[in-house]
Amino acid sequence: MSAALVLEGIRKSFGPNEVLKGIDLSVAAHEVVCLIGASGSGKSTLLRCTNLVEPIDAGRVVVEGEEITASGVNADRVRRRIGIVYQSFNLFPHMTVLRNITLAPREALKMDRKTAEDHAVSLLERFGLADRKDEYPDRLSGGQQQRVAIVRALAMRPSIMLLDEVTSALDPELVAEVLSVIRELAREGMTMLIATHEMGFARDIADRVCFLEEGRILEQGPPERIFSSPKNPRTARFLRRIIEAGRL
């Protein structure tokens, strides 16, 4: 099976601060990979570099066999195939839910209005948001906003989804509804690369877990093994702290 996404030697610095120090990672089609690690370990930056929102300093990104970091590749076209959902939702506050979702299909893919809206409504129905389609984002709860943000990314029919700590900005009681949407996507075979602080969720959903520290992947493997018997002492230390905090 070919890899949906290959990252090779990704390096990224912000000024003198090197955030990614050569990341190699391959995600197979239909695989769910979770990135775990402390804040500042480079998880979010890695996701933002993957869809070229953040330009990388060195390395290659290959999506479904096509190197998107090659010169002459139109980054806008690449991003249409990669869905990304951010921690802070970033819905467009001046547009209704429906318009938020149909904007990119209509403008970037030149889909006609009817097709785009029908597709958007069917997605909203699937995630129990159909009655919210004419609301503005500030009338929705955080959980609903984040689900709309996920639907907005799905409306582009991406071949891979990147989720950047999508539950971190939510009140605890709203986390479950967002996680269940992601579980649903995983069941349907969506390829996903997920940065998360929800260790229990990562253990349930991931095919593979990668532990990042200081811009490097220190350890990776199936969640059962990583969470029960980590080989790297630093992974073990990180997980011990998580357990002490009552988060696993």
């Binding site: 869809n51 929102v53 806008d76 076209r77 991003r79 249409r80 990669i82 990304i84 951010y86 802070s88 970033n90 819905l91 467009f92 506050p93 001046h94 904007l103 990119a104 403008e107 970037a108 893919l109 500030d138 009338r139 929705l140 907005r152 990314a153 582009m156």
Partner: protein, 293 residues
């Protein structure tokens, strides 16, 4: 605005003014009394001034007030001339809104390739904000005709006036737009670009609509200034309200025409000012409603 209860502005009032009804009544009494006293004092000073009778005749004579509004066979009507101010304002406003937006957007284009364009936008705003409007009016109004270029050197005084106003005000309004664009959080642009929208699409559908909504009040404020500055076009020879008032005053030795012109400017400015207030209040209400959700 009258006292409403929960606005943050109310917190600025001394606390005894709120809570108790008795003290509230006393506050109203004190403010009324001080207002009456204040204006009575001014009226007294004016009335007792040695030249007060003369001023009343020269500036407020009902006969001249009315005659300068109507105009005479020898002097233009101030009201009629004021229509030229309205015309200049209406035309300039449209061009300013467009040109300023172009300047603001050009100034925000990133990348070294576009440095010359950014430089032009920066120099433009520096120059036209820095030079007094009246000098720009002279330079355009007398300079361009002097060049003897086909078409461009043979426009009307009013057109040169409009061009000068558009050039100067676009520099101010471009800065207002730019502040609006920069107030839209970068994450909005990132979200749009992540969905595969181009830089231009992100600007057009996501950033600018939010930016422009936020700057409407300061924008209207600039337009109130523009309404008044249409009077300066008279230096090129156009007879607009201020000029017509001057002509009337010079031939009739009565300045009621100036009072008329002033009143006309105030009258047309007030609706725009109140409209701006309403937009600001609406925006505030909306933000508070959004915060509650």
């Amino acid at each position: 605005m009258t006292t409403r209860g929960t606005g943050p502005a109310d917190n600025l009032e001394p606390s005894p003014g709120r809570g108790s009804k008795v003290l509230g009544n006393r506050a109203v009494l004190v403010s009324s009394a001080s207002t009456v006293l204040f204006f009575a004092a001014i009226a007294l000073v004016v009335a007792l001034a040695p030249g007060s009778g003369l001023v009343a005749e020269r500036f407020f004579s009902p006969f001249h007030l009315w005659q300068s509004i109507r105009g005479t066979p020898g002097e233009p009507s101030v009201l009629g001339a004021f229509l030229l101010n309205v015309y200049i304002f209406a035309i300039s406003e449209v061009f300013i809104l467009v040109l300023a937006l172009v300047i603001a957007v050009v100034r925000g284009i990133p990348g070294p390739v576009f440095f010359p364009l950014r430089l032009v936008a920066i120099v433009y705003t520096d120059v036209f904000r820095g030079v007094p409007l009246i000098l720009i009016l002279y330079i355009i109004g007398f300079g361009v005709p002097g060049l003897g270029i086909a078409y461009f050197s043979y426009l009307s005084d009013v057109t040169y006036g409009i061009i000068a106003l558009v050039l100067v005000y676009s520099a101010y309004v471009a800065e207002v737009y730019r502040a609006g664009i920069e107030s839209v959080h970068e994450s909005q642009n990132a979200a749009a670009r992540s969905l595969g929208l181009t830089r231009f699409q992100s600007l057009r559908f996501v950033v600018l609509p939010q930016a422009i909504r936020r700057v409407i009040p300061p924008l209207l404020n600039d337009f109130i200034g523009l309404q008044k500055d249409t009077a300066l076009v008279s230096v090129l020879g156009s007879i607009e309200a201020a000029r017509a008032a001057q002509i009337y005053g010079a031939s009739q030795f009565n300045y009621a025409s100036y009072v008329v012109a002033a009143l006309l400017f105030v009258l047309i400015t007030i609706p725009l000012a109140r409209f701006t207030d309403r937009l600001i209040a609406r925006d505030k209400r909306r933000r508070q409603a959004g915060g509650l959700a």
